[in-house]
Amino acid sequence: MSGRVLTPEEVVGELRDGMTIGIGGWGSRRKPMALVRAILRSPLRGLTVVSYAGPDVGLLVASGQARRIVTGFASLDSIALEPHFRNGRQRGTVELTELDEGMLHWGLLAAAHRLPFLPIRAGLGSDVMRVNPELRTVRSPYGDTGHPGGEELVAMPALRLDAALVHMSRADAAGNGQYLGPDPYFDDLFCLAAERAYVSCERIVPALTGPPQSLLLNRAMVHGVTETPNGAHFTSCVPDYGRDEHFQRRYATAAADPDHWRRFRAEYLDGDEASYQKAVRR
């Protein structure tokens, strides 16, 4: 199945303007940054990005390619607030669907299970219901002692994705994927919620070895694999590498000033992935 092995540019070539794209990982952890950087070099625009948001979302807001973000937060973890997301919101350059992080999980699970919605308590009574007026509640058809008339719950709609982008520690050429860090995040659900799922990985190996529980993705969920060593940089990809805190601070500092950001883009992001990797090793 070597036909499933693609370059980052070929992955991005399968995306279209206006698509809804899910991005795996969490905050500034195991993000498919090489694929995000490939999107930055492309003319893609009008994207809706579903993510537990970190610098993936920040970069796509800064480039103007994300029209709408669907998330519960945007953070760099060791730096609490994602600076480009912050700028975008305060300048009104990006739209937001703001959900409780458990609702986001449930929306992905509903899409993965091909259900129209899943009931959840999260959101009830909060302004998530006010800022997302399309959200509806359902009443349980089953009465119980606490709720004789049936409990009212949020009907979290399926978050169906046109494409998913996730980063794995290892993968094989057929599209089976393995994470070796402490947390799978929701990468399997992102893949199952998507029409087409693309996996970048640190290394494509002939055979996946290690704990069976680490084999998160199987080839039925995956439509393309690309090898991008250090491809989650500057987010973490434990155990291969931790977050590049020094570089992340430079990113956040540059984001605070438009001129500084232009220089940062020119130095790191305007060239291809190889030149990025060379630049960050300097």
Binding site: R89, R121, G123, G125, S126, R130
Partner: protein, 264 residues
């Protein structure tokens, strides 16, 4: 008195978890984290805590379980958790905001986002930690309800006019739209401990920290607090607790989280 403001705050945070048993304690912030660890090492030994990534670890750092985010969400939904969150804004009924300041559509300041606050508050015990007690934080109305307070019902959309003092907001339990009310425990600040143990769940002064005047607490709060006849003084750490706090935080990082002195 043993220790300073930060030490009194650590003890007040620790007290939030007293009697919780074997549930997940999720402190957000330096002082709440020290409080949770102090509680676990003394009067609440059954508490579970994570390493901030995906492992449950005991006080010695030994891994005792695996708790990736999806499993944290399951613990939340199962109600087996007591979180102490921060608050950029909080109102008299405990509605909390960590999302943004100003109009949501085009905020003056974008903050973190709602994160898990809506789900936390409808599922399990929640306390808050406010390191700088001020009128900027304690407000009449929060700009975005993230953590759900009392009397919100299910729609989340309520006429703000109903929120004034004396408004008929105290629905009887049987008519409260069958929606279970949140379980808000305490709000710990650098000045005081507040709770919601009043007939209509309006915020009340439980205790004032050693060296703090009640008037300071009232002046720094942007709405009317319920004040009991006798306002207690928050307990200072015992000598044993103070030793433990010093061992847990030898570099006194806790002092950086609170202002140097009470406001004047």
């Amino acid at each position: 008195m043993t220790g300073g403001t930060a030490d009194a705050c650590v003890v007040a945070c620790a007290e939030a978890w007293r009697g919780d048993g074997a549930i997940l304690a999720s402190p957000m912030g330096v002082i709440p984290a020290l409080g949770a660890r102090l509680a676990r090492q003394t009067f609440a030994p059954d508490l579970l805590m994570t390493d901030g990534e995906a492992f449950l670890v005991d006080e010695a750092g030994k891994v005792e379980g695996w708790l990736p985010y999806r499993q944290v969400f399951t613990m939340v939904a199962a109600g087996r958790r007591h979180v102490m969150m921060g608050a950029a804004q909080i109102d008299r009924f405990g509605n909390q905001n960590i999302s943004c300041i100003g109009d949501w559509a085009r905020p003056k300041a974008q903050l973190l986002g709602v994160r898990g606050a809506p789900g936390n508050t409808v599922n399990h015990a929640v306390s808050y930690w406010v390191p700088r007690h001020s009128r900027r934080v304690f407000v009449e109305h929060v700009d975005m309800v993230c953590g759900v307070g009392y009397h919100r019902g299910s729609s989340g959309v309520r006429d703000q006019g109903e929120w004034g003092p004396g408004a008929p907001h105290a629905e009887s339990p049987s008519t409260a739209s069958q929606q279970s009310e949140p379980d808000l425990r305490v709000v710990v600040t650098n000045l005081a401990v507040l709770d919601f143990l009043t007939p209509d769940h309006a915020m009340r002064v439980r205790s004032v920290h050693p060296g703090v005047e009640l008037a300071d607490v009232l002046n720094e709060t942007g709405f009317e607090l319920v004040v009991p006849d006798d306002v207690a003084v928050s307990r200072a750490p015992s000598a044993a607790e103070f030793d433990l706090i010093r061992r847990l935080d030898p570099d006194r990082t806790r002092d950086k989280e609170v202002p140097r002195s009470a406001p004047r």
